[in-house]
């Protein structure tokens, strides 16, 4: 039979006509739509029973308690630990996404040296060799105060090197107070819980100071007035009872102006050194303070009177997410606290009970700024994943030529580009970690963060790496040290003190240390996810305080810090830059993967790398929204993206730090005066 074209056509047509009466099209349609609902490239979460594992957040110094929601061994979420004595059942946004940090795209899975994969032992040998060759050894511990820190200090002592600590902003005002109390003064902590009036000098009490929401909780149901003096309309400024919009860098002038009012009106508490301090205050008339701060003189006077009338009042220095205040400014704020009688008083600055020293033979903690420039030949940096970061410049200035920098970090980020060797360490939740006393806290505490996840086999804990170096360099007693041994030693010291109590996150129970039988028992309690908190400070007579500025030179420096703010008239195109955020956004570690929800995906925070600028200022520089702009400081520059905000002061540009390069802008002012720096804007 011959097949004609007509037959073919008929067959084709008939097939098409019959198709709707067969299952084929429906099956196809069905399968295709099911495929779209289960794209093979979409991950399918594996079901399982949800369990909770207790641990502690070690990303920033606050040391919040948390529970990791897990399915089998997989972490699927973070829940706050209710009743936790440090964090009071709160967590910051970053903590909620912190369980994903182990899989961060920048995760360093293999130790590296000079751009090549390397065994940690090889890096340790290199370090030991350099130390042996007489290079000066130093360790920068970004999370000081831990039990492990004592290993670092031992190592530094053995190597004849230095143990460097970063400046923790919350601790700076406490150090300033301590300096006023002379030799043998106790450590101090803020007792904001019991204060009635709190004046903050830029300290972000409501959005990043200590544990999140702490102040709101402290002050719930209490009439606590919170006055915030700062240049940024930050969340803290927005939520404060009163915001004093001072010009950038004028904190010292404000502190002196307030002191002047207190002294002039006879409102000051009895303190030593009032005479020499008055000599300083005489050079800061109220009008001058008003002019420098940009506030009205009456506002300053009223604030001072209010602080005295509505006591107990306390001034909180310590800068904020916008960087540290200068040493002189802290001194002026400490003096203000002294004049308010806040030192050693409940609702002010209280003396912490001292913590037993971990061990003997420790190198002293040297603040990074105080290290000799160009002196360090071998530097070990243990980087913090979040927390305060510093400009690399401030570190680089201390390094000798050909210095060997070894970065201990789970991530290939932060200082990684400047380090010759990177040691891959376990990420958050992957190893035993510790959370020492939160900076600024009135009581010491010590929490352990047991590992919840399995670390990659290649990861080496910082203490293990130190042991490798010790073995190579022949430092006795250190080559067997581990994190656990250090923590056990700390637990033993706490147990011996018989002070405080232990809070177990798992069952929210509290046990007095005195009721715990042995140091090992205390350790195992802590290692199951618990926190030890010291007893409340013992009531004691307030220490004798002497106002600063006894020496003429010191007075002069304080006056210079107060009267030479950066906002004075400058050349054409000059303006003042301040960092718009510090903690969390920029660190020597990485951002929590989902942190983009807060800035990239919403307008809640400035995006890292953005330059916030008032539209009127922008117009002056002919800048458009979204334009790339080169921010030029005297010895650094940074490319930022312009974003308009009419909440920014005119003549000010707020830089949201993206990389450490952004922080370099402020490095020149870092050690001394202020976080505000005069910059120029240029087209990118």
């Amino acid at each position: 039979m011959a097949i004609t074209r007509r037959d073919l056509l008929l067959f084709g047509g008939g097939s098409v006509a019959a198709l709707p009466f067969t299952p084929i099209p429906y099956k196809l349609l069905d399968d295709v739509s099911i495929w779209t609902q289960n794209f093979p490239w979409l991950p399918v979460p594996v079901p399982g029973e949800i369990t909770l594992a207790s641990t502690t957040c070690t990303l920033c110094p606050a040391g919040c308690g948390l529970k990791v929601r897990r399915v089998n061994t997989r972490p699927i979420g973070i829940t706050p630990a209710a009743g936790h004595p440090v964090s009071r059942g709160t967590l910051c946004p970053l903590a909620f996404g912190a369980h994903q940090l182990a899989w961060h795209p920048l995760r360093l899975r293999q130790s590296r040296m000079n751009g090549q994969d390397a065994e940690p032992a090889a890096i340790a040998a290199k370090v030991a060799e350099a130390v042996g060759a007489g290079k000066k050894f130093a360790i920068l511990d970004e999370r000081p105060g831990r039990a492990v820190s004592s290993l670092y200090r031992q190592a530094a002592a053995k190597a004849g090197g230095v143990y460097l600590t970063p400046r923790l902003e919350e601790e700076a005002p406490l150090a300033a107070i301590r300096a006023l109390c002379g030799e043998g003064a106790p450590e101090f902590g803020f007792d904001l819980e019991h204060a009635r009036t709190v004046l903050s000098f830029g300290a972000p009490l409501l959005d990043g100071w200590g544990v999140p929401g702490a102040m709101k909780l402290h002050w719930k149901g209490r009439e606590t007035a919170f006055i915030h003096a700062g240049s940024r309309f930050s969340p803290t400024a927005q939520l404060a009872a009163k915001w004093l919009p001072i010009l950038p860098g004028s904190e010292a002038a404000l502190a002196l102006g307030l002191a002047r009012v207190l002294v002039d009106e006879g409102l000051a508490a009895k303190v030593n050194g009032l005479d020499h301090y008055r000599a300083l205050l005489n050079q800061m008339p109220l009008n001058r303070a008003a002019e420098i701060t940009g506030l009205k003189a009456e506002t300053i006077a009223e604030t001072a009177r209010r602080l005295q009338a509505e006591g107990p009042a306390v001034a909180v220095g310590g800068g904020d997410l916008a960087g540290p205040l200068g040493r002189e400014t802290e001194a002026a704020i400490a003096a203000l606290n002294a004049l308010l009688g806040a030192v050693g008083r409940e609702g002010g600055l209280v003396a912490r009970r001292a913590l037993a020293a971990d061990a003997a033979d420790l190198a002293p903690a040297t603040p990074l700024e105080e290290a000799d420039a160009g002196s360090i030949g071998v530097l070990l940096v243990e980087a913090a994943t979040a927390g305060t970061a510093r400009p690399w410049k401030s570190i680089a200035a201390k390094l000798a030529e050909d210095a060997l920098v070894v970065l201990l970090s789970p991530y290939n980020s932060g200082y990684a580009t400047f380090a010759q060797a990177q040691v891959a360490t376990p990420a958050f939740l992957e190893s035993l970690e510790e959370a020492p006393t939160a900076p600024g806290a009135a009581r010491h505490s010590f929490a352990l963060a047991p590992a919840v996840l399995e670390a990659p086999e290649t990861a080496v804990a910082p203490a293990e790496f130190l042991a490798l170096v010790a073995a190579e360099a022949g430092w006795a007693g250190l080559s067997e040290a581990t994190t656990e041994s250090a923590c056990r030693a700390r637990a033993a010291a706490i147990h011996a003190s018989k002070r405080g109590s232990v809070f177990s996150i798992e069952d929210a129970s509290e046990t007095k240390v005195s009721e715990i039988g042995s140091a090992d028992e205390l350790y195992s309690k802590l290692a199951a996810g618990a926190v030890w908190v010291d007893d409340a400070p013992a009531a004691a007579a307030p220490p004798a305080v002497t106002l600063p500025g006894a020496a003429e030179g010191e007075r002069q420096r304080m006056l210079t810090a107060a009267t030479a703010p950066v906002h004075g008239p400058g050349g054409e195109g000059a303006l003042v830059a301040i960092p718009a955020a510090w903690t969390g956004n920029t660190a020597s570690g990485v951002r929590v993967p989902l942190a983009g929800k807060l800035d990239q995906e919403s307008l809640l925070r400035a995006l890292p790398g953005e330059a916030l600028i008032h539209p009127a200022t922008a117009q002056r520089f002919r800048l458009k929204q979204g334009a790339r702009v080169r921010v030029e400081a005297p010895d650094a520059q940074y490319l930022a993206t312009v974003r308009f905000s009419d909440a920014v002061m005119q003549g000010v540009v707020e830089i949201s730090p993206g990389e450490t390069e952004a922080l370099d802008l402020f490095a020149s002012t870092h050690g001394g005066a202020s976080r505000a720096v005069r910059v120029r804007l240029g087209r990118a």
């Binding site: 349609l29 739509s33 779209t36 609902q37």
Partner: protein, 433 residues
């Protein structure tokens, strides 16, 4: 034949045999030259479509606020302009206005292109086109979009059926007897399809308006109305019917301009222009009434100050003025006047303004609605489409131009073409209404 390459001249000879007997058409090479840039644009559009399908709609500048953007706006505009197909069908087959015969084929092709183009763009615009059929499986009968989906799908089938006889009339196709017989019988029953088309068009043009009118959450678009239909339902039907004839005028004039031929008689233009004029007048009157009602009652009850909508630049009061007066009242009056209609230039101007008016109205309803803030702390937002969006739509325009060019070349879109070719002067043997 094996191994030999068919010479261009041979192709041209074969190609000529597809052209309607007696039609004068340009050379094959010239036609290819005309198509080439459009094919380029079509390929670009296909590439942009690929980007959207491969990576996701993040490749466009659409965002959560502007879930509807350039595509939806132009789809609405194109569907309104494509209303010429249903409305001329209505005039020809239902009201028996014979003059419309001169443009009905072109109108059907245009309608088909507008609708199929719009559906093609929609297929890129929706996030999961493979699930589009769920609407038929789980339709929410309360949703205007359900009605639109049903109507447009069925109407596209109707337009395809209407297009079919025109294609089958191609010289080659009609030499196949079964095609010819099928065409003849289909053609005889065309009034049924035209009637169905009119019915469907009435509802989906209206529902497209209802789409915005029912959005309670958007006080700028929300309108009260009759029963389940907000006033925008009726305004959209009316405006689409009004500009449909104008779009036919414009496209026909454009084809005449490009080909340098006269394709329809002047009085056809006058009939179409008058239709637009009358309908547009009614539309403008009702639209004005609706606007007053909305400003003075509906929006106030929704908690928005009457004129706040027009406080956000670039959408000032001028927007409203432009929409109603410049693109509404003026073309309506131009086309309503018998004296002015005598001048072809006036007809063109009126038709251009009327078409711009409906496009502008659709723009206002989609883009301005979404740009305006709703919450007190909302920002007014600007949205600029990116090249992907332009390219996809450009691709659809290119598709339309290519298919229309092919149709013009090989099909008898304008039955009067031959006659006018022969007529030394205007043949005024059709009574003017």
């Amino acid at each position: 034949m094996t191994g030999t390459i068919t010479k261009p001249a041979a192709i041209a000879t074969v190609e000529k045999k597809w052209i309607v007997r007696g039609h004068e058409r340009c050379s094959t090479a010239r036609f290819m030259g005309w198509l080439a840039p459009w094919i380029g644009l079509l390929l670009l559009g296909l590439y942009a479509t690929y980007l959207c399908f491969r990576y996701g709609l993040g490749e466009t500048h659409l965002d959560n606020r502007f879930g509807f953007g350039l595509w939806i706006f132009l789809d609405l505009a194109v569907i309104a302009l494509g209303a010429g197909a249903f409305f001329s069908g209505f005039l020809l087959y239902i009201l028996k206005w014979k003059e419309i015969k001169a443009v009905i084929n072109s109108a059907v092709v245009l309608g088909f292109l507008c609708y199929s183009g719009a559906v093609a763009v929609l297929a890129v615009d929706v996030g999961q086109p493979l699930r589009a059929w769920f609407t038929f499986w789980h339709p929410n009968t309360h949703s205007m979009l359900t009605e639109v989906t049903f109507c447009i799908t069925v109407y596209l089938v109707v337009l395809t059926i209407e297009y079919l006889p025109i294609i089958l009339k191609n010289r080659k196709f009609k030499s196949i007897p079964s095609f010819l017989v099928f065409e003849w019988e289909l053609h005889k029953l065309m009034p049924v399809f035209a009637g169905v088309g009119v019915f469907l068009s009435f509802f989906h043009q209206g529902s497209l308006g209802g789409l915005f009118g029912v959005m309670r959450g958007r006080p700028f678009a929300f309108r009260e109305g009759f029963s389940i239909w907000p006033t925008t339902f009726f305004l959209f039907v009316l405006s689409a019917a009004a500009v449909g004839p104008s779009f036919i005028i414009l496209t026909t004039k454009l084809v005449e301009k490009i080909t340098g031929k006269r394709l329809v008689k002047q009085d056809i233009y006058r009939v179409l222009a008058k239709t637009t004029g009358v309908l547009l007048t009614v539309y403008v009157a009702l639209k004005s009434l609706d606007t007053l009602l909305w400003l003075n009652s509906t929006s106030i009850r929704a908690g928005v100050a009457p004129w706040e909508f027009y406080e956000f630049r670039p959408f000032g009061h001028a927007t409203l003025f432009t929409e109603i007066v410049i693109f509404g009242m003026i073309p309506a009056l131009l086309l309503l006047s018998r004296r002015l209609r005598e001048r072809p230039g006036v007809i063109t101007l009126g038709a251009v303004l009327a078409c711009l008016g409906v496009v502008f109205n659709r723009f206002v309803m989609t883009i301005q609605t979404l740009a305006l803030p709703t919450l007190s702390f909302d920002e007014f937002m600007i949205y600029l489409p990116n090249w992907v969006e332009y390219a996809v739509f450009g691709g659809v325009i290119a598709y339309a131009v290519i298919v229309y060019s092919l149709s013009y070349r090989y099909l008898n879109l304008f039955p009067q073409e031959m006659e006018l070719q022969l007529a030394p002067k205007e043949v005024n043997d059709v009574s003017v209404r």
